[in-house]
Each structure stands twice: as structure tokens, then as C-alpha cells.
């Protein structure tokens, strides 16, 4: 297998993690017009819970679902405590609310489980496929596969089920939804729970192939934000494409020796890409539906 071909394989787990994160971010953004900066923390806390449960003897088969459920609960809690009370102020205030949630969750996790990186329990068995001189661990492939499952699951839930329809409608036009009998608040909470569940899945899996650290895992959401942004923040397929671009860039950079010497070149490339997308997407600078004002 030629040298260069290996690297896309190596970036599969990154694409997987960022895709699940950005899907969750978009579901939340469409439902409550808020960028959930605490998304990373909603992945990190469940990963720690799973580790604690496994260390306490619970088999992974039981610990994983509980961990994912805790993510959903966390999503619901963050929306009720940090986002909904600020609804009357402005979307900016709600985003600052998620910033407070991020800070608090990272600090508390540090307090409870210690701040140093710890090895999370494996979800997928050890070992990997060998490809030429290197290979892909089952964990990494597993993460990518789970991403595909999550993406398909989200698609089916939203496109094929009644609940999904209710959520999409509520996000599109909350007033019409309430006139049809769907409580828009409930739909928003459902979106945050969905965001929490997906974040937890990505968190537990990502931790099992990398490191379980309150700050590192939480900040994994930043590249996912870039991915969601590149995808246009509004569309789920867009989020997948964005994640592919971001994951590939971070995966491929080490392959290009010129870029290797420059430290952090992957981040630079992504920043330029994201700024470009935003600059080109910005509307004419006068738009009538402006509801300005910070706090």
C-alpha cells in the first residue's frame, strides 16, 4: 500500500469522532439556535462515568449504555439550567451560558477524577488490521463504524419517525408546531438529549483510543465546531462533509513533510479554511431580522 494511502486510514477515527460531535452540534443548533460550546464536556463526563463503572466491575456491555444515557441526561440538564433561563436575553447570552457549563464541568471532573490523563477502558477488542508497514486498531475502525451507525440512526430517526418529524418541524417553525399539538419546549429538550447521547458515544469511544483527560477531551469539540461551521451549521450532511474535511486535514498533515516541520500547521490550515467559508457565506451586511444586543 503506498505511503500516502495509509494516512487517510489513519485519520478515520478523527473523522468518526468529529462527525458524531458535529452532528450533535447541528441538531442542537437547529433546535435552539445556540452553539453548544459545552458539547465537549458532554462527551468527557460520560467517558469518565464509563471508566468508573468498568473499574467498579461493571462489564463494558452494561457500562457503555449507562454512559450514553448519562450523556443524554447531561444534555437535558445543561439546556434546562444554562440555556433556557437566558432565552429571553439573546442567543449570545445562551452561548455564554454554555461556556459557564463547560468551565464548571471541566473543573468538577478535574476535582472528582483528577486532572491527569488516564487510559479509558477499551470498548473494542485489542489488536488491529495491518496495512503495509502500519495498521488501524480495531478501536479506531470501530469508532468510524459507530459514526456511520450514528449518522444512519440520526437520519432514520429524523427523517422516518414521527418524533423525528416533530423535532424537525419544531426547529423549522416553533409556532406552527405548537398549533399542531407539539410543545416546542419539549422538542428543544429532545434535541439537547439527542445531542448529549451522541456526544457521549463519541466521548467514550474517543477516550478508549486516546486519553481520558478533562481538558483534552472537552477541547476536541473545537475542531468539531469548525466542521459543523464548514458544513453550514444548518445541515446534517453538511456536518458530515465538514468533519471529513477537518479529520482528513489533521490526519494528512503529518504525511506532508513540508508541513510537518511547522508545528500546529494542521490547526492553521483549518483556521484559514473556516474563515474562508464564513467570509464567503456572510450575507449582505444589512439584514432586517437583526436582534442585536449581548446581555
Amino acid at each position: 500500500m503506498s505511503q500516502l494511502l495509509i494516512f487517510p486510514l489513519l485519520s478515520l477515527p478523527l473523522i468518526g469522532a468529529y462527525a458524531i460531535f458535529s452532528l450533535g452540534l447541528v441538531v442542537i443548533y437547529r433546535a435552539s439556535k445556540v452553539l453548544n460550546l459545552a458539547h465537549g464536556a458532554m462527551a468527557m463526563i460520560p467517558a469518565y462515568l464509563v471508566m468508573t463503572m468498568v473499574e467498579a466491575g461493571l462489564p463494558m456491555l452494561l457500562a457503555f449504555p449507562f454512559g450514553v444515557l448519562s450523556g443524554g441526561l447531561l444534555g437535558y440538564g445543561i439546556e434546562r439550567v444554562f440555556v433556557r433561563p437566558l432565552r429571553t436575553v439573546s442567543p449570545t447570552a445562551q452561548t455564554v451560558g454554555t461556556v459557564a457549563a463547560l468551565g464548571l464541568l471541566v473543573a468538577l471532573a478535574g476535582k472528582i477524577w483528577g486532572t491527569g490523563g488516564r487510559a479509558a477502558p477499551k470498548v473494542f477488542p485489542e489488536g488491529q488490521f495491518t496495512v503495509g508497514s502500519s495498521g488501524i486498531t480495531y478501536g479506531s475502525l470501530g469508532l468510524f463504524a459507530v459514526m456511520l451507525v450514528v449518522a444512519a440512526g440520526l437520519y432514520l430517526l429524523l427523517q422516518r419517525t414521527g418524533v423525528g418529524l416533530a423535532m424537525r418541524g419544531a426547529a423549522d417553525n416553533p409556532r406552527a408546531a405548537s398549533l399542531m399539538g407539539v410543545d416546542p419546549q419539549l422538542a428543544t429538550s429532545a434535541a439537547w438529549v439527542l445531542g448529549g447521547l451522541t456526544a457521549a458515544i463519541a466521548g467514550v469511544l474517543l477516550a478508549s483510543i486516546t486519553v481520558l483527560d478533562p481538558v483534552v477531551l472537552s477541547l476536541q469539540a473545537v475542531p468539531a465546531l469548525v466542521a459543523a461551521l464548514i458544513g453550514g451549521l444548518g445541515s446534517l450532511p453538511g456536518a458530515l462533509i465538514g468533519a471529513a474535511i477537518v479529520g482528513a486535514t489533521q490526519g494528512l498533515v503529518p504525511a506532508i513533510s513540508a508541513l510537518q516541520r511547522v508545528e500546529g500547521s494542521a490547526q492553521l490550515l483549518l483556521a484559514i479554511l473556516a474563515m474562508g467559508v464564513m467570509a464567503s457565506r456572510g450575507e449582505r451586511y444589512i439584514s432586517s431580522d437583526v436582534r442585536g444586543g449581548a446581555l
Binding site: R168, G169, D172, L179, M180, G181
Partner: protein, 251 residues
């Protein structure tokens, strides 16, 4: 005891007093029109009845039990459907998905869904053609048809319709009114807000005329049709305004 009794309700948007002690009623199977110039409070009335707005004072009874302040998403299940102004569809959802959304309160009854769906498709054949198209790509008329159909999917006892004719060609409006009449004959009471006074009066049993948040005129449709001051409340008294009236002192 009539199907809907609205008893001296006050409604305020922040500093603006939209409705001042408004009362009206709708009997079973009746078709009532709400007329009046823009800003007279017609839309606020419908929003208060359907639960989008909570009245500051007064009470609303549906089938005798109080519904003032009950939020919209709980009222739909009890038989009140509201087609708001500007049609208010789900732009990114397909026609069929919009219709399925309308059936949300009775979603458990699969058979009823297909029955209602076919009934709507019969009323509006064009919707059958555009079944999988996304709502925002429909023409104005088609969007209005989808709005009416979606509201009827929950087979309500009382249908509130706001400005059916907005931006539609008269022929389409006439067609819609025919269908409303048919639905009304099938037993659904209708309370509709309408700009086209003649169109409304020729299809409704009774009408109320609102001005500045109060009922200024009420009666059955036939007597109101050629009532002089009905036109005045819309266009202003045509014989008074001869020349543009400069400020008095100017002369």
C-alpha cells in the same frame, strides 16, 4: 350553550392594547366571519382563542369548559385548529410531511391518517401531484391549500382561518371558500378572518366587524352585505374627503 363563547377578553402586546373587552360566539356547524380594517384586532382574537396568546382578562369557553390561557399545543387535541396568517407551513418539510404533522394529535390512529390524507387529496388534487415537494417551493395558492389541508387533518370541531385570501388570485380564493363551505357542511364550525368582505359575507352565516380592538357591528351576513357604514369602516367616508385637508391653521 354555543360551541365557542368569548367573553369580554382584553389582550395586550407590551404597551399596545390589542383587544378591549371583546365578546363573540360561534355555534356548532356555524360559519362566522371576523371583518374590520387592519390592526382592528382580528388576528389577535384568533390567536387568543387558539392559545397562542393568553388574554389579560375575560374568559373563553369551548364546549362549556374554560380554555383561556391553555397553551396552543394542548388545545389542538381538544378540537380547535388554527390556520394562522401567512400560512405558517414547515418550509423544509415535504407536503406529505406537513400533512402528517397536522395529524400529530391523532397519530396513534393509522387508519384515520390514511383516511384523512385521501380526503385532503380529494379536496386539493394539486397537493397529490406535489406530494413529495418541499413546502417552500409551492406557489402561493398551493401553499394556502396545504395550510387548510394540514389544519383539517386533525378533524377539528372548530377551525380558525386567518386571511385565507392573502395574496391569492380571486379565482383561487373562491375555490378555497367553496371547500371551506363543504367542510362546514360536514360539521366543522369555522371562524374566519377575511379582507375580502363580499367574499366572506357571501359564504358565512354571521359576521362581526371589529375596529380598534372592539366589536363595532355584528349581525347575519345578508343584512350586513350592503350596509353603508361597513364600507366606511374600511375605506373611510368617501364623500367627506374632498380636498387633501391641510392643517386647519394654514389658511
Amino acid at each position: 350553550m354555543s360551541l365557542l363563547e368569548v367573553d369580554t377578553i382584553d389582550v395586550r402586546y407590551g404597551a399596545v392594547q390589542a383587544l378591549r373587552g371583546l365578546s363573540l360566539c360561534v355555534e356548532e356547524g356555524e360559519m362566522v366571519a371576523l371583518l374590520g380594517a387592519n390592526g382592528a384586532g382580528k388576528t389577535s382574537t384568533l390567536r387568543t382563542v387558539s392559545g397562542l396568546l393568553a388574554p389579560a382578562a375575560g374568559s373563553i369557553r369551548f364546549h362549556g369548559d374554560e380554555i383561556a390561557g391553555v397553551p396552543a399545543h394542548r388545545l389542538v387535541g381538544r378540537g380547535v385548529a388554527h390556520l394562522p396568517e401567512g400560512r405558517d407551513l414547515f418550509p423544509t418539510l415535504t407536503v406529505e410531511e406537513n400533512l402528517r404533522y397536522g395529524h400529530w394529535t391523532r397519530r396513534k390512529d393509522r387508519a384515520d391518517y390514511s383516511r384523512q390524507l385521501d380526503r385532503m387529496m380529494d379536496y386539493f388534487p394539486r397537493l397529490r401531484e406535489r406530494r413529495d415537494q418541499v413546502a417552500k417551493t409551492l406557489s402561493g395558492g398551493e401553499q394556502q391549500m396545504l395550510g387548510v389541508a394540514r389544519a383539517l387533518m386533525s378533524s377539528p370541531q372548530l377551525l380558525l382561518v386567518d386571511e385565507l385570501s392573502l395574496g391569492l388570485a380571486p379565482m383561487v380564493v373562491a375555490q378555497l371558500f367553496e371547500i371551506l363551505q363543504e367542510v362546514n357542511r360536514d360539521g366543522t364550525a369555522v371562524l374566519l378572518v377575511e379582507q375580502f368582505v363580499h367574499m366572506a359575507l357571501s359564504h358565512c352565516d354571521r359576521a362581526y366587524v371589529l375596529a380598534k380592538g372592539e366589536v363595532v357591528l355584528a349581525g347575519d351576513a345578508l343584512t350586513l352585505r350592503d350596509d353603508a357604514n361597513l364600507i366606511a369602516s374600511y375605506l373611510g367616508d368617501s364623500d367627506q374627503t374632498a380636498e387633501p385637508a391641510p392643517s386647519k391653521e394654514l389658511r
